[in-house]
Symmetry: C2
Subunit: 318 residues, 2 copies
């Protein structure tokens, strides 16, 4: 593995700094709503704060930075990405889908506010994300045509050909025997599409060339798949792929996962391979790509290192 | 009432023609999705077809026409408005909110596809609406900055300060004693905001002047309130304000309505007053405004004429 240039990069400090910047920007985006006056505003904020690792907005900022964009240009887009992620989690946790009681060690939104209010909070977050993207005061540094292109790409990533489609297929695959191709298909849409869009949006706002965009897109595709495979592996021990413990409460429904089909050993081999592919795409950018290199390495190595002494549970999960 | 100039306008023929145009445009918008291959695409289409009176896209076309825009410029926006309306109905019908089994004499989406798939179909419709609005091929006749302004206005109308906020307040007001101001507050957000946005979007794409936009906005505010009051009145007999029977299945939850607070007689007086205000705003546009005049008259007179022999039921509904 290409470890040399990366050992000097302090990923924990980077993630912590970027999270602080993003949290502050999210506060600014949401501050014109009267947070304490009505339940819907409290439910909306509950979905966004304290939040998880903020990996999607961090990827957007990192891709923007790689191609020379100041964070201030990327931040409104980064906030919208996080709000869309938050909406997808609230809806995914609802009894009609995953029926999870806990998320990030706290009760899920519908446990706190009721199902109806949680449903509406998710709807509100999705809608407000596009309200932010179309706010001329927030995105004035970016040409209107570029903003529209970003919205078009983002809506494809999270629509019926992306995240929503992946969730629908995931729902239909529950308790069914599915093959590896179907699991990858679900992963690519449900998780990969928004991660990929986050990177591409950062890169496009920064004015990346067509060739650079192809590279960052391939990196994003490999990372997205690695992210979900790692998540599946870490699910055995209640950790998520970005390193937060108990990102999702464990639901009772039987879902097809990568390791349940190919086994833990082969899943880890696939992860190692995906990391190499990620690093290969970033190689031409040299040290400037250190954050994106470190993120890929972090996602993958946690799942490879962790739990390596435990016996594989894939036979139980089959 | 100013009836003279309106008797010559054939509203039924107009609504029927416009509906056909809109249905065709919706088909075109949705045709790139493989309709029969997966459940989510079928659920999405189920929310859109056969549809109701298409009142929101018709208002957008009529406002555009009033200020000289060819329908082809307005249609992508009209389709997005209808898809957002369809999403709001699917989610509103879910057990977590109104828990309705029937809509337009057919089983609601969750009765056909299950709650999870209906939830996702609503999410998909909302997302695809913005995908259409940001499609450069569909909206190439309109400057990018104008499209962004439309998206910003639309997301305000259907976000937490609009439709979603109105639904949330409606949910909280269930089985509670609420005053007239609260009922109007809910109506303005839950129903009025999207009707108003439909008109304003049509007018803005057509290049209406600031003064014209103010007039059409006031018309929209009066119409939106009239629409909901008429709907409340017609709810006694299973008809909706646009004239379709059984637009919504009757839910069992007790909701505050305009006639339940002020009584049927006073609600009808308020409707008559709102019609006068609508016509007053349209007066300067003369015969060109015939469709919008006829729509306001249609919404109001149905509720005033209908059921006039029946004894008021407001004491039961209190």
């Amino acid at each position: 593995m290409q470890t040399d240039s990366l050992n000097s990069f302090d990923l924990d400090a980077y993630l912590s700094e970027q999270s602080t910047v993003i949290d502050h920007a999210l506060e600014t985006c949401l501050e014109h709503y009267p947070s304490d006056s009505t339940t819907i505003f409290r439910a909306l904020r509950y979905g966004v704060f304290p939040g998880g690792k903020r990996i999607r907005p961090i990827l957007a900022l990192a891709a923007g930075e790689l191609f020379g964009a100041a964070p201030v240009r990327i931040l409104p887009f980064a906030c919208a990405l996080e709000m869309i992620h938050a909406y997808s989690l609230i809806h995914d946790d609802l009894p009609a889908l995953d029926d999870d009681d806990l998320r990030r060690n706290a009760p899920t939104a519908h446990k706190v506010f009721g199902e109806g209010m949680a449903l509406l909070a998710g709807d509100g977050l999705l809608t407000e994300a596009f309200h932010i993207l179309s706010n001329p005061e927030l995105t004035r540094c970016v040409p209107a045509a570029t903003v529209l292109r970003v919205i078009h790409e983002l809506t494809r990533a999270v629509g019926v050909l992306g995240l929503v489609g992946g969730q629908a297929m995931d729902l239909e695959a529950e308790n069914q025997a599915v093959d590896l191709a179907t699991v990858e298909f679900i992963h690519v849409r449900k998780t990969g599409a928004l991660l990929l869009a986050s990177l591409r949006i950062g890169a496009q706002i920064a004015g990346a060339s067509a060739e650079e965009l192809v590279r960052i897109s391939r990196y994003g595709e490999y990372l997205g798949l690695a992210f979900q495979i790692a998540d599946d592996i870490l699910d055995f021990q209640g950790e998520d792929a970005a390193g937060a413990s108990s990102e999702s409460g464990h639901n009772e429904k039987r879902k097809a996962t990568y390791p349940s089909i190919v086994g833990i050993v082969q899943a880890r081999e696939r992860l190692t391979e995906l990391l190499q592919l990620c690093l290969q795409e970033l190689a031409p950018f040299g040290a400037r790509a250190a954050p994106l290199q470190a993120i890929a390495r972090h996602v993958v190595t946690r799942a490879i290192r962790s739990n390596s002494e435990k016996s594989p549970k894939e036979s139980n999960a089959q």
